[in-house]
Amino acid sequence: MSNPYLKVTKLVASRKPSSHLSLIIFIACCLISPLSKPALLHFLDSVHFFDGLQGLSFRLGGGVAGAVSLASYHDIIRSRERDILNPHPIQPKQWIYSLMIGTVSRTWSWPFAALGLALPLLWEGYTVPFAALALVVWSSWFGMIGLSYTIHLGSVWAARTNRLDFVLNALRGENPKEQAAFIYAPGFALFWIGFGIMMSSSVIEGAVQLRPIAVALLFLPVLIGVIALPFAIRLSESQLVPASAVVAEIDARWAVLEKGDEVLSVYLDWLAGDRLEFLRALRHGWRALRIWPIGAWVVGFFAFVAAWTSDHHTAVVLSAAGSLGVCAISALFAKGDPLWLDDALGVRSREVGIARFWVSFLYAQGAILPSFVLFLFNDASLLPYLLIEMMVLFCSALSAGLSIQMRERGLWLYSPIALLVWAIIGFLYEH
């Protein structure tokens, strides 16, 4: 019997203009591979070659698997196709198969793109190590497809059952319980496939020497995926349809939250205690300018990734740039508050300035902490981070002071001074 979902997917794909995104990603990765050459070879030369290769294959495999986990979450839980099919009964096995084909066709190029970044290995003549690396990455991709489908469908069960309430309520923060089940699922899938990738990476030396057991272990993530697959198919029968109701529940809960009064609890408010001006600044920052603290964490994430791949220089530069950028937020706090209004309201400038100083200092930590923690565990030199923190202290004070004296126009003075401070500290560090 033909699969109606697959038939429609193919028909739509044949008519829809193609963005060739998969191909573009692959070509882009190949084109930028010369840039990855120094880092890659440094990575492999800095330690015993196979230790480096093991680390590289673990990171590339993990990166691809993580991306696939997120893609399959979207396809299973948040696919737009759900809205189309919701009014109708579904045939779970056929639909899950069609969804899986969709995930495969959307992500097939990702392992190739990851390997495109590692092309300098081939240029340097490491053909067999490159082939072993390719097998680990490809196997991570394949394994994650099977495993992530099982875990995402399992997360629907976790969202609906009462048995996991105590865990989900502990993890959920301000999210509805069901959302907690969904948002932790990609990480949970990555955690389990991570074991497989770690094992297959650890035998890469043996695989290069063509030891049969080592070569077989390269496919461990595939085995995990294949074992998980029947569970996914079984879970699809009970969880694929209810997933729509869970998603609708989450969306409705958020809609109610957004329509309601402002949430009183904001980022970092637990630090405010009874300092009212500080609490006010935290609330203002989170409600009106939350892109800044979120942006700081995004930059922090990229710095973390750079530190993870042993690119310490980029990690430090990203942390410094991100934190200095975020420190400018004090000037934005003052936007639209004329001086006469402060006078009329009896605003105490000193308290306001101190509150803004702390808020910008704390927001900046988002850009610093992730890579700092990695440096800490890697026993790398912490001097750059000490200097960054000093810079952030100075720039937070500068920005807060300027926001009181010059309001948002303080930004114009803050930017060149902050850059100058960065340049001076960078110069002192280098010499």
Partner: protein, 221 residues
């Protein structure tokens, strides 16, 4: 096939969208679900069709609990959501054929005729107006001639001749024994066709009466 709603309630966090609803709709009945905006109509419809699960009570369609077996329940229902979403790169004929295939039964040409899509049936849905999209969604709901038909503001955006045509089709299905629920905030539409009207306000049933009670209902709006 009957629809049984017992002590139905739905709460989103601190907001109680539906409090305690109980009613029963028999085969061949045409029931209008009316009420002002925010009365809980759409939430009720979504619980009737298994799109969301109740926090209290239950909905049974032909003896199937929609929260426990939503997919089994969906097999018995034809449903037109308030904002239908369709495959943009299919034609209406292909879309309706697809629904027929997944339901395993249906008459595509009959559904197309009924909704008057006619010559436009072979154009891509992405080229359709809102009204034509709605007609396609209605045809999808009707194609398998389900025992229960639930329409959420399904006549919005249709031109008067199309409304007439759809209402006529609904009448025919009603005569065949289909239980029909039409949610709307336009009472005039129901006067022509409904055998009963349930009025909701603030998540509770304010009135449940035959068409003869319509004048009274108007005063409650």
């Amino acid at each position: 096939m009957s629809i049984e709603v017992k002590d139905l309630g739905k709460r989103f966090g601190s907001v109680e969208a539906v409090r305690t609803l109980s009613f029963r709709i028999e085969a061949g009945e045409f029931v209008g679900l009316v009420g002002p905006n925010g009365a809980g109509k759409s939430t009720t419809i979504k619980m009737l069709t298994g799109q969301i699960f109740p926090t209290a009570g239950y909905v049974c369609i032909g003896g199937v609990d929609m929260a426990k077996e939503p997919n089994e329940g969906r097999k018995k229902i034809g449903y037109v959501p308030e904002f239908p979403v369709l495959y943009e790169y299919l034609t209406a004929r292909e879309m309706i054929s697809f629904v027929k295939e997944i339901r395993g039964i249906g008459d595509v040409e009959w559904a197309l005729d009924l909704t008057g899509l006619g010559d436009d049936a072979d154009r891509l849905i992405r080229e359709y107006s809102q009204g034509m999209r709605r007609k396609t969604a209605i045809a999808c709901a009707l194609v398998a001639k389900p025992s229960v038909l639930i329409l959420d503001e399904a006549l919005n955006g249709l031109d008067p001749p199309s409304v007439e045509r759809v209402l006529k089709a609904l009448s025919e299905l009603q005569e065949l024994g289909t239980a029909i629920v039409l949610s709307t905030h336009v009472l005039d539409t129901l006067e022509k066709i409904a055998s009963r009207v349930i009025m909701l306000k603030d998540g509770v049933v304010l009135a449940d009466c035959p068409p003869s009670g319509f004048p009274e209902l108007r005063s409650l709006f």
